[in-house]
Symmetry: C2
């Protein structure tokens, strides 16, 4: 808050608080959550000039009858990659605002991997003026590691440039945890760019975690057990409890809340596919799930409102209290967490689960046409000669981002290692797509259940090269070629021919269609994959994370198989 | 944290955390408090380069055997006027560091009332390089109100200048709560100077409190009942539980902690006379008292460590966790809270209740010689002709800063209103002492028990004019004249002659003597006052607050009697 104009606005807000002026908007008769005491207060909520004036009795203004219902602060996602929704930021906003979310803290590192620092700047531009407050953390790890290939690296100067923008809060998840722990000066210099730095330290505990925390990192969303989360919280690291499309950590982590209370815990979704957003919801779904697991609604709600705000230093968000931003939700009950009215910045933003229309910023041309691939040679996906011993296999862990590193006797045909659908061993390839270098990494993956054909995506964390899994090379090639033609997207092929596709023209990551259309198309593609044998909840998201070189144990990039813990490329042969 | 040098230091800290380098200092074998979970962890605490590396097992470094004892973060005072100790900042540090306090957030508004903005700058200079971290809030209310007369007013530019300094955290307690609530643009402009603004709203509740909070004020240390404190906390206002020499609020406020937990609660001392600091202690005494009242030691300790840090946005204070400042205390037990070792910035600062020697900054000449009083006329303390009806009387409330506004039939002699020791009605006068204007306010006070003579002080909140209470005019004059001669201080007189005195040459507020000598001298003065009938715990502090025009109900300044709630000067006659 600063400046004379703001002082004048404050003067009116104070007059409304005193009862000397009429509010703009009043929510009448709800039970109102005080996040500071976890009590329910009886009173009307008065708003003026986009802020809360108070909870009491007020005359005048636009009135919303909320008797018998519950007024809570607008929900906040403590850590999300909007790009995982495959939606434009405005469309993402439309979907989640309808669910009661009024603010998110996003890390636009998918866009930054494809578009460079401009991608992060565009996220800020594309989320300007929305009913959803979109805060940005400046991507710290582009590339995620030296073992994968985005369009180009983001340097300290790029990060500093993003940090100068309004709505930029700090340095985003420092995923290269081995370099942090080792004290790599370049990584420490990035961390030193801002006081507020998010973390990402899957499975890191003990002395290594001490080193990670000592670097100044104060949040983490990668804990998969409550014991790991407890170790982090003891060190003053905010535990961001995650429930993503393929990282269902909430239930396991709630034990931390049961044992030690909700302090230093906040909800986040990290990566949600559009179907999960449309069908299950967003932070509202996490509240619903937590309460179903026996957590007190008030504890769930502070983890969904005040705590994400506090974690990120957002001093006037996350509470229904005088002077706070007038972001609030009227809930029908404390089991479904259904949002019947959503107010953002003192204006009604959604009613009965439907967002009110708002103007979305136009999409500039330069964010499209980002897929540049060299012509595929006939042996593009060849796994090489049989090694005479075992080969490494990426083992999918259902519902998790981590993978196993298995060793198996390979299937061999004509002296070459090949896919073996009988043992659920599919080929996996990552094709560099930013600079048409022709670089392709190949390996084997187990756990999809793919019996025929292939499927591919230009969404492939974090470098977003083309990732393709398949049991026949012709179908793999057909997928990749179609994605090049589409300028990015998702495709399914069998018998060497494409059976279905979804275009993601913006950076090869985002559709320009409404969420419902994207979900319908993805459902069709998943149905095709089911016909081809694929099991598992979110096969496209699972596929897209197989290329992420910073989540253990074994991954594949355009540089080859990556032993994440050892932080090096390893050959297929053991 | 920023800069290449810091990155190098961090690199070493991380190496110590990993176990790859030797720590500077290790506290061995204590039970270590995690303030984030309120658990006691078993492990050594390793420190390097002034920060915590971790809690675990470490080789090498200087070792402190703490087996069987408790390691907790250094104690933090969330709000204190160091000047109330009557000690130089370095001497204050010596006293409180010995008690386990390693950081305070101070408001140097006493100095600012006497020395202007330079007084606040000098507090920062005078507290540089101490084992105590002294953070400064920029005084917002000099004068406290238009009804009292400091050396000069502090404007927004003065405040902004203080805010530019290192260790300046925000805008100090906005005591002029009526102007805030009314939306006075000048006050709102001061609040708008910084995001972090401390409050002071005694007895303010309901819609008025909504307006005060809506202005952006997020702390308060003036609640006297737990219900008032609860109202504040519900609005997101940090409740700073105060235990001062003449405002013993802790016991009453702990009920809030019992009912709603310690969140959004922190300890503060506000104003402590030197005898209270030396005999009872500082924040350690509040922990002791809280635990004696049945509060869990872990809850008391978070209110004494993490919470004050969080309230003030001190991101790396208040915890024993990797990367935090190495400020910690080894306690013998969790009942006495006796600090056997105090570590500040990774160095031993005190052992067994005695601070280790350190260099104190020299005192510049310009902070002395601040008492300028016009010659007293013979009728300086005349209360005027008998009004023919009742007169206003300030009623002291023992142990509180608030006063009552009574109405009594006056004692009359020779047609003039006079003191009446039989009914405990003493004269009270406030003599302007910054510009020798000759302005004197006079009134009546009840509650000291003074039977003869007078006592006076140049410590007289907040303008620090000379305040004198007496039952004979000659003794009152003798006191005032001696204080002028001393360049400030405290004096007791009887029969028109001074019986005892304490010089406070620095700004008329601070001694340059050691704490123990100051206490001894004040004890002697209190003993003299006891001979003259005075009762009550801290008569000089009580006297000094009778001039503070912003704490209800009735006060006296050089401008006359002040009806605080009405914010105006009122005559003696009803």
């Amino acid at each position: 808050m600063s400046g004379a104009a703001d002082s004048v606005q404050r003067g009116r807000l104070l007059a409304v608080a005193r009862g000397d002026a009429e509010p703009d908007l009043v929510v009448e008769g709800a039970r109102v959550l005080s996040v500071f005491t976890r009590e329910w207060l009886d009173g009307d909520v008065a708003m003026a000039d986009g802020r809360i004036a108070g909870v009491g009795r007020y005359e005048g203004g636009e009135r919303i009858d909320a008797r018998g219902r519950f007024a809570v602060p607008g929900l906040i996602d403590a850590h999300v990659h909007i790009e995982s929704s495959k939606l434009l930021p405005a469309e993402f906003a439309r979907v989640v605002v309808a669910r009661g979310t009024t603010a998110v803290v996003c890390d636009p590192h998918e866009l930054a991997n494809v578009l460079g620092a401009d991608g992060a700047h565009w996220m800020l531009d594309a989320s300007s003026g929305l009913p959803l407050r979109v805060y940005v953390m400046a991507p710290s790890c582009v590339p995620a590691s030296a073992l994968e290939s985005p369009r180009g690296p983001l340097g300290a100067d790029d990060i500093a440039g993003i940090l100068r923008r309004d709505r930029a809060l700090g340095v985003a998840e420092v995923m290269d945890f081995p370099s942090v722990i080792a004290g790599d000066p370049d990584v420490l210099a990035k961390i030193a760019l801002h006081e507020h730095v998010d973390g990402h330290a899957p499975g890191v505990t003990g002395a290594a975690l001490d080193a990670y925390a000592a670097a100044g990192i104060r949040s983490d969303h990668e804990a998969t057990t409550w014991e790991e989360a407890l170790e982090k919280r003891r060190r003053g690291i905010w535990v961001l409890l995650r429930e993503a499309s393929n990282a269902h950590n909430l239930v396991a982590l709630l034990e931390l809340v049961r044992r030690h209370g909700p302090e230093y815990c906040a909800f986040c979704t990290d990566d949600r596919e559009p179907d999960m957003l449309v069908r299950e919801g967003h932070i509202d779904a996490m509240c619903r799930q937590a309460v179903a697991e026996g957590i007190a609604p008030e504890d769930a709600l502070v983890m969904a409102t005040l705590h994400p705000a506090r974690c990120h230093g957002l001093a006037d968000l996350g509470a229904i209290a005088p002077g706070y931003r007038a972001d609030l939700v009227v809930l029908d009950d404390l089991t479904s967490f259904r949002a019947s009215v959503v107010i953002a910045g003192g204006r009604i933003a959604a009613r009965d689960g439907v967002a009110l229309p708002f103007a979305a910023p136009p999409v500039p041309d330069w964010v499209r046409a980002t897929v540049h691939v060299a012509p595929l040679p006939p042996d593009a996906f060849d796994l090489g000669p049989a090694p005479g011993g075992r080969v490494r296999v990426i083992d999918i862990v259902e519902g998790q981002l981590i993978t196993g590193a298995a060793e198996e006797e390979p299937a061999v045909r004509d002296g070459r290692v090949v896919a073996d659908p009988e043992r659920d061993l599919a080929k996996l390839a990552v094709v560099e797509r930013h600079h048409a270098t022709g670089r392709i990494g190949v390996g084997l993956v187990r756990g999809f259940g793919l019996r025929s054909g292939a499927f591919a995506s230009t969404v492939a964390h974090d470098a977003h090269n083309i990732v393709v899994a398949g049991v026949d090379d012709a179908s793999m090639a057909a997928c990749v070629e179609r994605l090049v033609g589409l300028g990015g997207g998702v495709a399914v092929a069998a018998g060497g021919a494409v059976r279905g596709e979804l275009a993601l023209p913006v950076a090869g990551l985002l559709s320009e269609e409404p969420a419902e259309a994207v979900v319908e198309r993805l459902d069709e593609l998943v149905a095709l994959l089911r016909e081809q044998g694929v099991e598992g909840q979110a096969p496209f998201m699972t596929l897209s994370f197989l290329a992420l070189s910073v989540i253990p144990d074994l991954k594949l990039t355009d540089r080859g198989l990556v032993d994440v813990t050892a932080a090096r490329v390893v050959p297929l042969a053991v």
